[in-house]
């Protein structure tokens, strides 16, 4: 820290250059934070995915399959617990405000125990068929508190009474979990089932289950696909691990794309800072010669140059990642409905990567100028002819 005043003076020598460099580095790291942060979200979701949970749904036919399928799935060897679900897709007030509710049966807790809904909260829902449980994110999105009424319009699910609005009562709010990036709403299967026309009753959109052993999950999933392949209701089965294996967004290789963008940004910054520090050193060649004359070692001079290069990089990286964190929180408000982009999270891993990248950029930028200073001929430099 002994050199700090010297470094500070060097940076302030050209304040415009310092500010512009800092801003450019900050913007590049904002992008870096958003991109790597998105990967971090995918990774968390993949890591938190339960290895023993399996989803199975009808291969064809959007109206669902008979609820008997759930019982047949339960009878397949290796299956520990089974719950049947119905979907209620729709919107709140305006088609822009898309909403989605999972209508679950009483076995839900045995398969979705990690979703944080307490047994007494489930009991409230079983007692009141119109009752629902929301995660905090959804409750905030719809501005609801416990006891409020929640009304959804669904054009997709037909009601026996011909209406298309569904009234619910919010009975409990629970914490969000990483696997459900946009939050979740649970409702009562019996309510939706009995409200449908008789011909549509007794159907399920999805059956979710647990394997008795996580190591068996893939085998159990394959067994379910096989068991139903030649039936009237072929099923499509996938383990939660595979379904959440990040890195797959509509078939895109997300890691490659986000990594490429982050890298392009870093490349841009490397040229900028590298050039800035080279110029700064060249302008002060005589000054460095003086420092060396009065006894500064090569190492001391090199340290000063590296620190001068590192300062805008590290400060810019910190500001950039901070800005990315703020922007990430605004994304849900700016994003059109139905655009399920995972929200970037600024995990410690992201910050570590940002810090590392900043240091690498600083080191590369300073490398050449340090070499010049080491090799410089002091007499020539002092005379101003270098």
């Amino acid at each position: 820290m002994y050199y700090l005043p010297l470094i500070w003076a060097a940076i302030l020598r050209k304040p415009t250059r310092a500010v512009l460099t800092l801003l450019s580095v900050m913007v590049a790291f904002t992008l870096f934070g958003l991109m790597v942060g998105m990967n971090a979200t995918f990774d968390t979701v993949a890591a938190k995915a339960r290895a023993d949970r399996i989803f199975t749904w009808p291969r064809f036919g959007g109206d669902g399959v008979p609820v008997a399928v759930a019982r047949q799935v339960a009878a397949i060897p290796g299956v520990k617990a089974v719950t049947a679900l119905n979907f209620l897709p729709g919107y709140v007030q305006d088609p822009k405000n898309q909403a989605f509710m999972l209508m679950v049966d009483k076995d839900v807790a045995s398969v979705f125990g990690d979703y944080g809904v307490a047994p007494e909260q489930w009991n409230l829902v079983w007692k009141d068929r119109t009752g629902i449980v929301m995660s905090r994110m959804q409750a905030a999105r719809w501005h609801k508190k416990v006891g409020d009424t929640f009304t959804m319009i669904s054009k997709q699910v037909k009601r026996a009474d011909g209406k298309n609005s569904w009234d619910f009562k919010l009975l409990a709010i629970v914490d969000d979990i990483p696997q459900a990036g946009n939050g979740f709403i649970f409702g009562n299967y019996d309510y939706i089932d009995k409200a449908k026309p008789v011909a549509d009753q007794g159907k399920v959109n999805e059956v979710d289950l647990l394997a008795d052993d996580p190591a068996n999950a893939s085998a159990v999933a394959a067994r379910i696909d096989q068991a139903f392949a030649n039936s009237a209701t072929p099923m499509q089965t996938i383990t939660e691990k595979l379904a959440r294996s990040g890195n797959d967004f509509g078939g895109l290789d997300v890691k490659k794309i986000t990594g490429g963008i982050a890298l392009a940004g870093m490349f841009m910054v490397l040229f900028l800072t590298g050039n800035g520090i080279a110029e700064s050193v060249r302008e002060r060649f005589a000054e460095f010669a003086t420092l060396k004359t009065i006894g500064f070692t090569d190492r001391a001079v090199a340290t000063m140059v590296v620190l001068e290069a590192a300062l805008p990089c590290v400060v810019g990286a910190a500001l950039g990642v901070g800005l990315a964190a703020i922007l990430a929180r605004q994304i849900p408000k700016l994003m059109p409905p139905g655009f399920g982009i995972p929200l970037p999270t600024m995990s410690p891993m992201v910050m570590l990567w940002a810090a590392l990248s900043a240091l690498v950029v600083a080191a590369l930028s300073a490398a050449l100028p340090v070499l010049w200073l080491k090799r410089m001929d002091i007499a020539t430099a002092l005379s101003g002819r270098a």
């Binding site: 450019s24 072929p234 078939g251 490429g260 392009a264 910054v269 590298g274």
Partner: protein, 385 residues
């Protein structure tokens, strides 16, 4: 005046060699920006092109009223013949209307990377191929009407597992073998095709998804539409095939395009700061040179213009380099987005857009430094060391 601008600019460019690395900041900054922008846009552009090609303006599609996609549309057996016999539809050599009953069903597939996705399975009626001159078989044979068999698009084979000739696709009444490979050069290349009536039975369905017709001429669409929309027995929407796919491709590509522009915009801001930095440095190293010119009688405007021109030239060079990289990395490669298989594309129009962006950044980044260069008092600049 023009001559002055030319002379001063020429001087600038001659001195570029001495400021090579400094100038590279602009070139690399815009190269990275435009490279990323065009790489991301290559998906949107390629997907849109695949949809544009399938949408033949000589064809029209009939879906149920207000349907936003073929999947959510339903045309009953009773409605089909009324639509196909309506005025304005071209006739085949056998005297029957050139019109086809189509199905459009999502089928789960295994992607090459092991993840699960969906593709579209299409039902063709007897006139399915006659309606699509772009459809031709590459390998194997066409499916036979009435038989439970499928043909697969050449693009689907490059992205999905288990879609080779001889493989079975699980449908509601068991496995259907794949008997051939076709190519259309459009979005159908990522799909599967089978016989409409046989599929209808297998899926226990009673309605088609859409009717596709060849128009007697480009101008008969209105007559055709009037005949259908005024018929009380029908409740349908009629669209020119090309207009229909413009709408569909809009839905499919919006997210990709928005992401590309947002990322490109953020990078452009970063490049702008780099550009400002470089140009300020350039005018400061050339301060005395500029002052000398001014002392010789060159005007402030030519000096300012020359600074902006230099920034623009460097930015355009960077943009072209970035575009070249984006083109080499992406153009022609097979892409996938949801159910869509297509070829990524970096066409000249997109390169033009990239150069346009670069010029805007350079104008913004060159303007402030150019004003400073022009305003600096000559005497002060000449005295400065």
């Amino acid at each position: 005046m023009l001559r002055q601008i030319f002379i001063v600019s020429a001087l600038n460019f001659k001195s570029l060699k001495g400021r090579f690395w400094q100038s590279m900041v602009i070139v690399v900054g815009l190269g990275a920006t435009i490279g990323v922008l065009l790489s991301m846009m290559s998906m949107t552009v390629g997907l849109r092109a695949a949809y544009d090609r399938v949408g033949d303006p000589g064809r029209a599609i009939v879906v149920s009223k207000g349907a936003e996609s073929e999947g959510s549309s339903s045309v009953t057996r009773a409605m089909a013949p009324i639509i196909m016999d309506a005025p304005g539809v071209a006739k085949d050599v056998d005297g029957k209307p050139l019109a086809d009953r189509q199905l459009n069903i999502g089928v789960p597939v295994l992607r090459l990377n092991g993840t699960k996705g969906y593709t579209t399975m299409r039902g063709f009626g007897p006139k399915g191929v006659a309606l699509r001159p772009e459809f031709h078989m590459l390998k194997g044979r066409m499916f036979q009407a009435g038989k439970r068999e499928l043909v697969v698009g050449v693009g689907a084979q490059t992205m999905f597992q288990n879609v080779k000739i001889g493989d079975q696709v699980i449908l509601p009444d068991g496995g259907w073998p794949i008997v051939g490979v076709y190519q259309t050069g459009d979005i159908l290349d990522g799909q599967l095709v089978g016989d409409t009536e046989t599929m209808l039975t297998a899926f226990h369905r009673s309605a088609y998804n859409s009717i596709l017709v060849r128009l007697a001429s480009h101008d008969t669409l209105d007559a055709f539409r009037r005949a259908l929309t005024t018929n009380p027995a029908l409740s349908v929407t009629v669209e020119r095939h090309s207009d229909w796919y413009k709408k569909i491709s809009g839905q499919a590509t919006t997210l990709l395009a928005v992401l590309a522009y947002v990322v490109g915009f953020v990078m452009a801001i970063g490049a702008l700061f780099g550009c400002l930095n470089t140009m300020y440095a350039a005018i400061s190293t050339r301060g005395r040179e500029i002052a000398t010119l001014r002392a010789l009688g060159y005007g402030a405007f030519p000096v300012a213009m020359s600074v902006v021109l230099e920034a623009v030239a460097l930015a355009v060079a960077g943009a072209l380099a970035g575009a070249a990289i984006a083109w080499l990395m992406n153009d022609g490669r097979q892409g996938i987005w949801g159910v869509n298989i297509f070829h990524l594309s970096v066409p000249p129009s997109m390169i033009g857009l990239g150069v346009g962006w670069a010029i805007v950044v350079a104008l913004l980044g060159g303007l402030l430094p150019s004003i400073r260069a022009a305003r600096r008092p000559v005497v002060e600049a000449l005295r400065a060391t």
